[in-house]
């Protein structure tokens, strides 16, 4: 157990939320809009009325217990393998925004160029553990087939673990087909998950056809999935946070139960993007005290069920890389880090409640992630770190700048910032660069530092051929 461990619920609270979710699953049930899922759950002995599936609590708990406590995602370059679970945290870039906001505040549709830039930045950025998924929506590509271009690009330009398509069973199948040859065939995948995909429930209490189709397909291949609920307090869930957690928990457990019914041992992550509704406009607000509490509570619930957890992110409702973007994103990354969340999607780049990405915000969030990774490492207390010898040696009134102990320890003990300005006033006042202006310099430098890891040419051809043939089938 990490030394940094924030709890916002008592054990009794967790138990009561669990019991409330079990009641919802058993008495209200979940609307499952995917016939094969209803069928397999019925075959497993669950009752269903049309598409409404009633989950027996004993069965749910038995299946959830079959999910692994932790697992490793295998990357094309083993140095980028990622352990998901335990005390570890994986930072993952923003996902799914249709817009870009440029420095200065202009909003425009995201393009394929933006996509490739962000992919290269994600690969080059040390703080990002995965290359991500739909980093932005490339609006200039056909929306029915762009997931194929995106998957190919991840394999071609990055050796970090990608996120797969949740565009129905066929999107999941294509993801597996494209990754299999890279890792020596589909049989190998059964042993080693090489991709993780985002499966969202529809709140309240629904699983839709597209996401459920993808979930079942990934489970068949034992590829990892994040099953996440986005309950909005006050609109798609009750206004009270405990009720939000009860609804979220029922949905996520239904998803995990389905995955384990299809293939026991499928790696799953308990996910939450739950947040609140702005009660004046109906807009979602994704960065606030309530959502930060929901993140921490989600970590506790996932721990209760013994599965890894996804929550939080560099989240903000702000439309600019400004003070609000900074303080909200820090809160929404700090809370999951402090409470032991294992997988932080949307770590970098998000503005305006998931709708926009920004290059400047990407590096600002990476800076926050770097600070928090250090924070999570906590304070080592041992003979060396207590430093009694050197303190005695320096004695009262001396200084430590010229001590070997300082020289040997400061680099690992103190993280060097990449974006924060620590100059004197005079030093800063020469250019008077704001965070956003410094971030523009930094992201360009990051993109410049990208090095193409390369991909075997025969493999490139093989994957391209697959992509082209699938495109023809889909567009037909």
């Amino acid at each position: 157990m990490s030394k940094v461990s924030l709890k916002v619920l008592t054990d009794e609270d967790v138990r009561r939320i669990h019991e409330a979710s079990m009641k919802l699953l058993e008495e209200v049930g979940i609307e499952v809009e995917y016939e094969p899922a209803v069928r397999i759950l019925q075959e497993a002995g669950l009752k269903a009325d049309g598409r409404r599936v009633f989950f027996d609590p004993a069965y749910v708990q038995k299946k959830v217990a079959e999910a692994p406590h932790d697992f490793t995602l295998y990357a094309r370059d083993p140095r980028h393998n990622v352990h998901i679970g335990g005390d570890d945290v994986a930072f993952v870039p923003g996902y799914g925004a249709p817009f870009m906001i440029e420095a200065g505040g202009t909003r425009r549709l995201a393009t394929w160029d933006d996509y490739l830039n962000l992919l290269k930045m994600a690969h080059a950025c040390e703080e990002m553990d995965l290359s991500g998924g739909m980093l932005v929506e490339p609006n200039d590509l056909d929306d029915h087939t762009r997931y194929l271009d995106v998957l190919y690009a991840h394999i071609r330009y990055s050796t970090k673990v990608p996120m797969g398509s949740s565009y129905g069973a066929s999107g999941a199948r294509d993801t597996v087909e494209l990754l299999a040859p890279v890792f020596g065939g589909k049989e190998m995948l059964q042993e080693k998950p090489v991709v993780i995909s985002l499966i969202n429930t529809i709140s309240p209490l629904k699983l839709d056809a597209r996401q459920t189709g993808a979930l079942m397909e990934y489970a068949r291949w034992k590829q990892a999935v994040v099953i996440a609920a986005l309950v909005m307090a006050g609109s798609t869930g009750p206004a009270t946070l405990a009720g939000v957690l009860a609804v979220q928990n029922a949905e996520v457990l239904a998803g995990i139960t389905l995955a384990q019914t299809v293939n026991p041992g499928t790696p799953v992550v308990y996910g939450s993007a739950s947040s609140i509704t702005d009660m004046r406009t109906g807009c979602v607000s994704i960065a606030n005290a309530e959502s930060a509490l929901l993140n921490a509570a989600t970590a506790q619930l996932a721990r209760f069920y013994g599965v890894p957890c996804r929550a939080g992110g560099g989240l903000t409702d702000s439309k600019a890389v400004d003070g609000q973007a900074g303080y909200e994103s820090c809160l929404m990354l700090m809370s999951p880090i402090a409470s032991g969340v294992n997988f932080i999607l949307h770590t970098a780049g998000i503005l305006q409640y998931w709708l926009c990405m920004s290059y400047e915000k990407f590096v600002m969030d990476a800076e926050i992630a770097g600070m928090l990774r250090r924070y999570k490492r906590s304070i080592d207390v041992n003979d060396n770190s207590l430093a009694l010898d050197v303190i005695k040696h320096v004695g009262p009134g001396g200084h430590f700048l010229t001590q070997m102990h300082t020289k040997q320890n400061h680099k690992t003990e103190m993280r060097k910032p990449m974006l924060s300005d620590r100059q004197s006033f005079e030093g800063w006042a020469k250019d008077r660069l704001t965070t956003e202006a410094r971030a523009t310099v930094l992201w360009k430098k990051l993109l410049d530092s990208y090095q193409d890891p390369g991909l075997d040419e025969r493999l490139q051809k093989q994957l391209q051929t697959y992509v082209e043939s699938r495109k023809k089938e889909i567009v037909k």
Binding site: T277, T281, L355
Partner: protein, 214 residues
């Protein structure tokens, strides 16, 4: 005093109380025109005012709009008769609203629908996952002036374009104002698909409807 009670019931979002009061209006042969204009509408107007001032929130507006609808349904027949007798026709703007085919996200659409109702429009909400033909059939049936289509997904936005094309193919394009909205949509998208208007928020959508029907 029943007028004050009607106003209060709408403001409380108490549809049951509105129903009780409206039936009383009919039973006691009180003026349905007065009940609506000096009672129900006063309530929704007051909600609108308090919402603008930040004193009321979405549940107040949406429940108020629902209560108003219940009242209008009960008084509807008598109201039309009374108005016809007085040579007065209902001049409120009529709007058909829905979420497009393939899209099940309807919270934003519901909010816009309620705000339009609160602003005095006659709103016909056809729900979510609706084909363009359903939008147009409803508009034809109720004699709407505006068709409003919502889409939250980049994969369903094309249906908004489809709506404009469908109207053209039926020779009905000039008969209706088409307005669109939803998370990924923009003014540029609206212009591109040939819609008559776009709004980002529910408030702006109401202002847009006023402008289009001016």
């Amino acid at each position: 005093m029943i007028l004050d009670e009607l106003k209060a019931a709408v403001m409380d979002g108490d549809a049951e109380q509105v129903a009780v009061l409206c039936r009383k209006v009919l039973d006691e042969h009180l003026s349905p025109v007065e009940a609506v204009e000096q009672g129900l509408i006063k309530g929704i107007e007051e909600i609108g005012r308090l919402w603008t001032e930040g004193e009321m929130f979405l549940p107040d507006v949406m429940m108020g709009a629902d209560a108003l609808k219940v009242g209008l349904e009960i008084l509807g027949a008598e109201l039309s008769k009374a108005k016809a007798a007085a040579g007065d026709t209902d001049r409120r703007g009529r709007i058909v609203i829905g979420t497009v085919k393939g899209d099940i996200h309807d919270i934003g659409k519901n909010i816009v629908s309620a705000m339009m109702t609160a602003a005095g429009f006659d709103v016909f909400d056809i729900g979510y996952d609706q084909g363009v033909d359903v939008f147009v059939d409803k508009a034809e049936q109720v004699g709407a002036q505006i068709i409003a289509a919502s889409a939250l997904l980049t994969t369903t936005m094309d249906e908004q374009k489809e709506l404009v094309e469908y109207l053209k193919s039926k020779g009905l394009r000039s008969k209706y104002k088409v307005i669109i909205g939803g998370g990924p949509t923009t003014q540029g998208w609206a212009d591109g698909v040939g819609a008559d208007g776009w709004a980002e928020t529910a408030n702006e959508a109401v202002a847009l409807c006023h402008k289009l029907l001016d």
